[in-house]
């Protein structure tokens, strides 16, 4: 079995640009969910989100002619590739898997709004060239000279985790020795309006696993990592943040927006990931939960965790309590949070958690990060369409 390590990380998050900035933010338990500035929010009950600050976006090394999402993706992928010390030759054989949902829709919406409101043709129509999610992979693949298999993966909020699982699969199959994988999501009006319409947004920063939670908070981010054959990485002296041990991917086939009430698909995904990793549930010390803060998700996820690990047997926390739900990027953002938690021996907290829901029989690390020398961890990502992806990592 080919062993796979993570040799580079890159993040642009609501805290700012850079993996170090991201880690400092979540380790401090800082909540980056604030009033929305990017789009109009009048008339909506929820008017907050975790945006990447404007000065950060302006400072990214990416052309302003590109969509916001393309710029976020390029900056994060560029950091990951540089962090892994990849040469041009390395990049020429690397696969690229980009998780995406919204694409460059933000700019497409601006064009559409303008045409509808003015009744005149807008020159912004060229924005339509970049509205599709595949635009990010084209931008990143071209700018970084990535010549291996290129895919744009859309599995709703599990996309980012799926990009890691599917990228690792290409390495295990011997297709490529390394892969740049990750996800990106820029805030869009459709996403913001849609979750408002579903009444799934809290008008205050989300409180995953809290007894009084009232919904999620939207966020935006880009996060990429370099996966690489362990032997190859060691031979070239590359950095190692941790080892990817295995993944499980399942589908509920139950409902388009609601999880299976008994968490059947979540449980299968976690069991499959543990099987693929070749480790028992008891080996896992920490679970980075999907933890959206919606009543339904947190209840069902807690039930599924209980069935897989036993009540109270692992530490559980939600990164979304700090950076919001970054949709297609979330799975990669949270996988990176998991890896850094293993590396630093520090479990990031669940921010805003004041009264634990009695239906959640776990220590969810409320408010303050917890030192814990954990060897292995699991990261969960679930999404619309009943998509479930679980990833298992080992400390590097």
């Amino acid at each position: 079995m080919t062993r796979i390590v993570v040799s580079g990380l890159g993040v642009v998050s609501p805290y700012g640009a850079g993996t170090k900035t991201f880690w400092e933010g979540i380790a401090a338990g800082a909540c980056a969910i604030r009033p929305v500035t990017l789009i109009e929010t009048e008339g909506f009950r929820c008017r907050i989100a975790a945006e990447v600050p404007a000065p950060v976006v302006d400072g990214l090394d990416a052309s302003r002619r590109r969509s916001r999402a393309d710029r976020l993706a390029l900056a994060a992928a560029r950091e990951a590739v540089a962090d892994a010390h990849l040469t041009a030759e390395d990049r020429a054989i690397a696969a690229l898997l980009v998780a995406a949902v919204g694409g460059g829709m933000l700019e497409g919406e601006t064009w559409y709004w303008e045409e509808v409101r003015t009744g005149r043709r807008s020159p912004r129509i060229k924005a339509l060239r970049s509205i599709l999610p595949s635009s990010h992979a084209e931008t990143v693949g071209y700018r970084l000279g990535l010549g291996g298999p290129k895919e744009t993966i859309i599995m709703a909020c599990a996309s980012g985790a799926a990009s890691i699982a599917l990228g690792a699969d290409l390495i295990r199959e011997g297709v490529v020795p390394l892969a740049v994988v990750g996800g990106v999501e820029a805030l869009t009006r459709i996403c913001f309006m849609g979750f408002n319409a579903l009444k799934l947004l809290d008008h205050e920063p989300c409180r995953p696993f809290d007894r009084d939670r009232r919904g999620m908070s939207i966020g935006e981010a880009a996060a990429f990592m370099v996966l690489e054959e362990a032997e190859r990485c060691r031979a070239r002296g590359g950095p190692i943040y941790g080892e990817f041990l295995g993944a499980g991917m399942t589908t509920d086939a139950h409902h388009v927006t609601a999880p299976h009430p008994e968490g059947e698909g979540m449980i299968r995904a976690m069991h499959l990931a543990l099987d693929a990793a070749g480790v028992p549930a008891s080996a896992i010390g920490y679970v980075n939960a999907h933890g959206t803060g919606t009543s339904q998700n947190d209840r069902v996820e807690a039930l599924a965790l209980s069935r897989v690990f036993g009540e109270g047997s692992v530490l559980v926390s939600s990164t979304k309590s700090m950076v919001g739900h970054t949709m297609a990027a979330a799975g990669t953002v949270e996988a990176i949070a998991t890896l850094l938690a293993l590396q630093h021996g520090l479990i990031p907290p669940t921010a805003n958690l004041r009264q634990l829901d009695p239906a959640v029989p776990f220590d969810c690390v409320p408010g303050v990060a917890r030192p814990a020398p954990v060897e292995m961890a699991l990261s969960n990502s679930f999404g619309f369409g009943g998509q479930n992806v679980s990833l298992v990592f080992r400390k590097g």
Binding site: E138, L146, G148, P149, M249, G265, G385
Partner: protein, 393 residues
Amino acid sequence: MSAWSSGKGERRGQRPRVVITGMGTVNACSVGGTDAVAGALAQGRSAIAPVRAFAINGCRSRLAAEVEASALSALLNRDTDRRLSRVCQLTVAACRLAAADAKIAGGPHLGIVVGSELGDLRSSEEFVAAFLRRGPAALSPLIFPNTVMNTMAAAAAIALDARAASVTINQATIAGDLAVLRAAALVAGGYARVVLAGGVDELCAPVYRHLAELGALSPMQGGGTEGCRPYAPDHNGPVLGEGATFVVLEERESAGARGATIYAEVKRGVWGNIPTPPHTAQHFRVDIHSPVRRFLAALAPGVPSRSYGSGNGDPGVDDWEMALFDRDLPEASRRSGFMPPLSLAPLFGQHGGLGVLRVAAAALDAARGMGPVLVHGIARGGCRTALLVGSPG
């Protein structure tokens, strides 16, 4: 090479062989299982005609290959499919046809891979248009999930009780080819024992109009006669089609054990990227390190016996594909009479299901005893694919 395998040709351990055991299609030429696909290909009649489904006044493009509304509605379950968006209905209908054709059942072993170029942009437009007309109160929580491109896979997974991995891939021109490749990888990698692999897109007025306005459809530069003429000197752009086509991929061993009809085997599949500026086709760009290039260069004399290409009349894509073939194929293969490759775009129009129709055509060729058939694809932006489909032996 006897099994689906890696770009390096370095298989790690004994991986399952991946075979095609069924097909289902709802396209502009035909609706049904394997017989319908074979019939449409044998007939060779183009479904491209002036657009009927919506008004195209003032639009410089006028042609498309449309699915008959009555053909689709006849396939739908009134109770369960009524509320699905049209592109989801196309997907569910084609998946059901493929599953019936292959005689497979749902369960935790069944996965889905959907390739799409455009997804459900009709729903996105409908969702925001309602908001702009009447404000937040007009937003539909039922339409919103359709704005996420995995909505087609989700609808199909529910309809068929497909509970293994379901993956959606967004890609221009070769979405279907990529879906088949990823599905073969899921089977070989053990994520699913059986996978419905397909592609889907639909025609809708705003998308058609905007693509025409952006100069993405024939006649691209506003000159020449509108039409789909892949690889021809007077090619001037693609003509859109619509529909869904799925093939059933599964482990050869389990297919044999259940007595399935095996049409063909996906012998090898590789994909890569030629780093190219987004949305462009630059035929001078080469992929020096590409697994696709290595794969083509290593083909044995006489292989392939036939080749299907992604040429769709877009001069950039057509010319790039020809230049890549000219550079990468061994001379013996280039001389064997299959240049230019066969294009199915003039029959069905360009859409996400077209690549799967190419794979289905190759499988039917193999089932008729033809030697290994190549299915090649290149898209603007540089994504490149190659599959070798042959007799399971």
